[in-house]
């Protein structure tokens, strides 16, 4: 069965039923030029012109409007970026009906902080790995690389004690295994 083609309100050529181009009417609205005799009396042109004038007015208002981001937006975006960066891998912090987890990056930052702020020492923490053992709860396994100056005599027991104390104070968990990879820094001139 043959069907009539669907009727379009406007031909796809952008022309009104009276044959006038919508683009030409839009140009006249934008330029403010006087309408010719046909457009001034044609109902199709008048209807289109009303719509085009409203559109032109609205776009002018939008262009003139000063848009400024709320002052807190940048801060929120930066917090989102930081949260996304830190919330990748987590380890259990509390188990039970209301579980809690903590970012391994946050725990690693605590461990590095403990090393870097060891009183009376010039130590630098580098890579730090944090794992939750599968066969134990409420404890963490930590491995941290510690950079010491050349010839420096590291008091490893004191450093271990400090790391455990700082992790306990900030995180509230015990360390089951704490592995220190001590690396001596080459402090000779020109060494990197």
């Amino acid at each position: 069965m043959a069907l009539n083609p669907p009727r379009r309100r406007f031909p796809s050529t952008g022309r009104l039923p009276c044959g006038r181009s919508v683009d030409a009417l839009w140009d006249s609205v934008v330029s403010g030029a006087e309408l010719d005799h046909h457009s001034a009396s044609c109902p199709h042109c008048q209807t289109a012109l009303d719509g085009l004038r409203a559109l032109h007015s609205a776009t002018r208002q939008l262009v003139d409007e000063e848009v400024s981001a709320p002052p807190s937006l940048l801060e929120r975006v930066m917090r989102v970026v930081r949260t996304e960066a830190r919330s990748g891998e987590t380890v259990p912090l509390v188990s039970g009906p209301d579980p809690a987890r903590i970012s391994t990056k946050a725990v690693a930052a605590v461990v590095r902080f403990a090393v870097d702020t060891q009183p009376g020492a010039v130590l630098r923490a580098r890579r730090c790995e944090v794992h939750a053992p599968v066969d134990a709860v409420d404890v963490l396994d930590v491995r941290v690389e510690v950079l010491v100056p050349e010839g420096y005599r590291l008091h490893e027991a004191a450093l271990r004690q400090r790391i455990e104390a700082v992790v306990s104070a900030h995180v509230g968990m015990r360390l089951r295994e704490l592995t220190l990879d001590v690396v001596e820094a080459d402090t000779r001139e020109g060494a990197t």
Partner: protein, 144 residues
């Protein structure tokens, strides 16, 4: 009994609590806990919140404060809540336990919504050297 209605929960016949109200009360309760530095927005929550604020502007509704770091999952009989936060000044573990308890109590008692689970995620820890912490005995000793 509570029932879920597309992001809202019916706590009694004809009484519906929107998930936004649950999120705002959750945020307020979490912030009230000592040791919570801030609630941390996730990317998904941030985008959803921007969309919500845009909807508020379009519909002429008062733009509500952002509810960062709170996730509300309305389920047939209750809600599950997620809280992402930064802590400081107290062990993260202690703070997390207290946040869960405070949020659960507030939502259940103030809104009548049953809470099945409160999941806390600590994304950051404010770092304070142990030497900088003033023991409570010293605080008491110097207090007038």
């Amino acid at each position: 009994m509570t029932t879920a209605l597309g992001g809202a929960v019916e706590v009694a016949e004809g009484v519906v609590v929107e998930s936004r109200a649950i999120a705002r009360l959750t945020a307020t309760a979490a912030r009230s806990v000592d040791g919570v530095v801030s609630l941390e927005p996730t990317l998904l929550g941030f985008v959803a919140d921007l969309g919500r604020q845009l909807r508020d502007v379009i519909t002429g509704r008062d733009v509500a404060d952002p509810v960062d770091g709170i996730q509300v999952s309305a389920e047939p009989a209750a809600v599950r809540l997620g809280v992402a936060l930064s802590v400081g000044g107290r062990p993260a573990r202690e703070v997390s336990v207290e946040v869960s308890r405070t949020v659960r109590d507030n939502v259940q008692h103030n809104l009548g919504v049953r809470v099945d689970e409160v999941r806390v995620t600590v994304v950051d820890v404010a770092l304070i050297p142990p030497e900088a912490r003033v023991p409570q005995q010293q605080v008491a000793a110097v207090a007038p």
